[in-house]
Amino acid sequence: MTQFLSLLLNGISLGAIYALIALGFVIIFKASEVVSFTHGSLLLLGAYSIARLSEPLGFFFGAIVGIAITALAALIIERLIINRLRGAPVISLAIVTIGVDIILLTELIRRIGSDILNVPHPWGGGSVRIGDIGISQNRLIATIVAGVLIALFFVAFKYSSWGVSMRASAEDGETAALMGIRLGRVSALAWVVAGALAGVAALFLVGSPTPGVSPTVYTVALRAFPAAILGGLDSTGGALVGGLLIGVSESLASGYQDQLLFLGRGFGDVVPYIVMIAVLLVRPSGLFGTKELTRV
């Protein structure tokens, strides 16, 4: 039972971080109809900036500036590329984001080079114990911060003028534009929010129990993609549920590797994709995605 609860808690904390990334993925899709594959490099950019800036600026300012840099990078991508390609086929835009991702990744990996970069989190490698179950303070704080940010986002999405504009433009862009909503501004702000969320996710991803910035940080985004897709690519609530589902199932599959031996070793790695495929087979639009209605 202890093992199950430990794995569950670890899965939830991992899932909360996936949810932050997946949420950014969904916001961008809703605002600009782009499936953005830039999140892997944005994560690594956030982690790298925070690690580099923590030394001269101290942890808190370093983290804030690092997150701001990630948001700014997302804005630049939107303004310089995505905004100018408005109207291009969705698939072309997705491929363009893969290109941007590879360019950014290559430069970041070159910069990280042979160093092992450590982010000096004030909570360090400390842990919290509840009975026999232990979780790193970093992951606990990550879960709380992710929860607060996601709640704030839902409130803003529902009540702020930006949220209303975004929902309107996602519903029917043309009509929203005729009503005076500036689609470009909505899209730009969506990218900024998504970039900032990736920066926050990166801040916790490079702390205990996975200390240090290494180029493999970007692969976490590959697990957040199925989270967004199985939740429903156009559903913000789906991103949260999808993130948690992927985090927990991955944690359980890795932790019960011995019991799942008949499926082969290393099964935990493929779980996100198996869960995604299984959900899509039953619900092609994802758990909470809007079903397509076609009038014949």
Binding site: V90, D115, S214, L222, I229, L233
Partner: protein
């Protein structure tokens, strides 16, 4: 809200790309011919121009073993800056970065193979395995910065020390001797999928059989960073020791999670698990008190001159034990090339003959004693055991090179 046709396509593209990003393939190009030349009374062919020998280096400067690759390569360069073959030939290195991607390694080798006499270094078991047919066809003498048993099956490839199975078995021997492990205990072993991990695991399995240990196995990918689930699994299984055949990132995670969960057991690692940068991270104290690394090389406390020379040449670097590996493999290459040169034959065939004839190679205590390079056999039966410490290189020698109880049986 409607999800239109374009949106559905987007979902499909996303799913396909995500799935494709997890796979890779390797393809070997065909080999090509060679040029001939002669310098003095020493016969030469490929990779020797006048008094200059060119050796290839396929290392990892940007991938998962970047920290290790950089130090090994710097040490190779430093060694050849100060040494000549037969007091005549200076050596130049053609250094290329594979990023620990086999396909990249195969492509880079095809670009350099017509200009190098031999390979001073090829990092990583998967890349060495991918290049094995070509190295064999091109009669290349190669020193891998990897210690997989399958590498000893490649003619001309000289594993610099004991193979991973022998190495970790020597580590177990040390743990038994020190009372950190006893017969019938349970051991959790986390290992990478592929050659490196499988070979380390084979060592654990062999010892487990001899000593009645219960082994809990956990396979991971090199990109997996979070070891929470695996350590939780070990805790539930009540392990008495954790064995690791992974990279430094995973070691840091294992230490952090073990500390968080109060899993207070020793950790035994294959040599590539450790990097000195780990001692700047939050897991430092746990590592210093729990980690033991079985290693083919010594530490800087036994080789202070090498450390001084390295720091003078690369003042900004934080030297790891890769420096000792790199210097050791260059010393071995010099022995081979000197021997070929004395035989008057610095052709690839001549260098390969000299390599095959090498016996009881001595690197001045940098690397464990090498008994010779015989196909399919571990070149050495000995290992050092190192422990992390606040010293240059991040580790001190806990046990000098020794042959453990299980080594001879596993080594064949």
């Amino acid at each position: 809200m409607k999800l239109g046709k374009g949106s559905r396509s987007a979902v499909v593209v996303a799913a396909v790309v995500v799935a494709a990003a997890s796979g890779c393939s390797t393809k070997a190009p065909e080999s090509s011919g060679s040029a001939e030349g002669e310098a003095g009374d020493v016969t030469t062919d490929i990779g020797v121009e006048g008094d200059t020998i060119t050796l290839g280096v396929l290392t990892d400067l940007t991938g998962v073993f970047a920290a290790l690759g950089k130090d090994i390569t710097n040490a190779n360069e430093l060694f050849w800056k100060d040494n000549k073959v037969c007091d005549t030939y200076s050596v130049e290195l053609d250094v290329q970065d594979t990023g620990y991607v086999p396909q990249q390694g195969v492509q880079l080798y095809s670009g350099m193979k017509d200009s190098v006499l031999a390979m001073q270094q090829t990092i990583g078991s998967p890349i060495n395995t991918a290049l094995a047919p070509e190295y064999e066809a091109d009669q290349i003498v190669n020193f891998p910065s990897a210690w997989s048993k399958t590498l000893t099956e490649i003619p001309g490839t000289g594993v610099v020390g004991a193979t991973y199975d022998v190495e970790i078995a020597n580590g177990y021997d040390y743990m038994f001797q020190e009372g950190l492990l006893k017969e019938g205990d349970t051991v959790g072993h986390i290992y990478f999928e592929g050659e490196y991990g499988a070979n380390g695991l084979a060592g654990s399995q062999a010892v487990a059989e001899e000593k009645g240990l219960e082994l809990v196995e956990a396979q991971i990918k090199s990109t997996d960073q979070d070891m929470s689930a695996q350590v939780t699994q070990f805790k539930a299984a009540g392990v008495d020791m954790i064995a690791l055949t992974v990279a430094p990132g995973q070691l840091a995670s294992v230490a952090a999670v073990a500390e968080a969960q109060g899993l207070d057991v020793p950790i035994l690692g294959s040599n590539p698990v450790f990097a000195p940068g780990l001692l700047q991270g939050p897991a430092a104290n746990w590592l210093k008190s729990h980690l033991y690394v079985a290693s083919p090389v010594s530490a800087f406390d036994a080789n202070p001159d090498l450390l001084d020379a390295y720091e003078a040449e690369y003042p900004d670097a934080t030297p790891s034990l890769g420096v000792i590996v790199g210097t050791g493999m260059s010393t071995l290459m010099k022995e081979v090339l000197d021997s070929a040169c004395e035989n008057g034959d610095l052709t690839r065939q001549g260098v390969l003959d000299a390599f095959d004839g090498l016996e009881e190679a001595d690197t001045g205590g940098l690397v464990v004693p090498i008994r010779g390079f015989e196909l399919g056999k571990s070149p050495s039966l000995e290992s050092f055991v190192l422990q992390p410490a606040d010293v240059p290189g991040g580790a001190k020698v806990a046990a000098e090179a020794f042959e453990g109880e299980f080594a001879a049986k596993i080594a064949g």
